[in-house]
Symmetry: C2
Amino acid sequence: MYRISELAKRCGVNKETIRYYEKRQLLPLPMRTEAGYRLYSDADAKRVQFIKRLQQLGFSLTEIHQLLGIVDQDKERCADMYVFVSKKVEEVQKQIKDLQRVVHVLQDLQKRCPDEKALYECPMIEMLIEEEFST
Amino acid sequence: MYRISELAKRCGVNKETIRYYEKRQLLPLPMRTEAGYRLYSDADAKRVQFIKRLQQLGFSLTEIHQLLGIVDQDKERCADMYVFVSKKVEEVQKQIKDLQRVVHVLQDLQKRCPDEKALYECPMIEMLIEEEFST
DNA sequence: CTTGACTATGTACCTTAGTACAAAGTTTAT
DNA sequence: ATAAACTTTGTACTAAGGTACATAGTCAAG
């Protein structure tokens, strides 16, 4: 068992972030020393890393709280999990499509405007305003 | 020429957003009536729509300010535009890869855990912690 | 037995992209 | 002439995801 700074260091985050996650209920209430210092174990470290990974993948802390319901085997948060995951899949697939369009537009811009002079004549607005986007 | 409410209405945004864009230098300082009311033209409406489209595509207002350098034929903001666009392409391509991985993980979760009971045994943490991600 | 390093709590502050509101001046309609 | 509807400015507030700081208590070393 170790204290908050050690956990923060192991997970590459700030102490304040740990306390913030506790407040957001992403981390369970930790054990305390007699003086009131928080105590953590490897399970907590793993959990923080899990949170960080999901964040990298574009999940909000609210969504992560939801997903942690699986880890915690919490009936309440697991209700409608299948629907939640299905929605997220659709959402992310839409996001991928939009980003693929962004790449095309930017690469088109690069091709058309290989230098500064060409750039000045580049019909930027028209290029983007006339495209259609999934909304 | 019309006033701020008309522009906002034509662009589907709030008046406050227009003023906010002016402050962020995304819109040029507009002409004013004798009483000090802002006056806008179709060019401004087109510009706001352009900003909105780029936003939909995931650009921040700071990046949009940069890109508007092309539209404004502004030497300063156009400097290093090619580098800026190249970096953005790479960034977006990385983002797409990560999101594709998210889709796979979520679909895998759906396959393995077709109902609530299966969900409780789902090794969520292991599933995600053991994967590698582009960073 | 006191200094330095740690922890506790609470509150304030940061960024981004706005939104909301107050107080004052202007324009339009009746 | 005066109310309704507009505009101006400035400031404060929102959400998310933290960061920073002030004040107080705790612990280990010299």
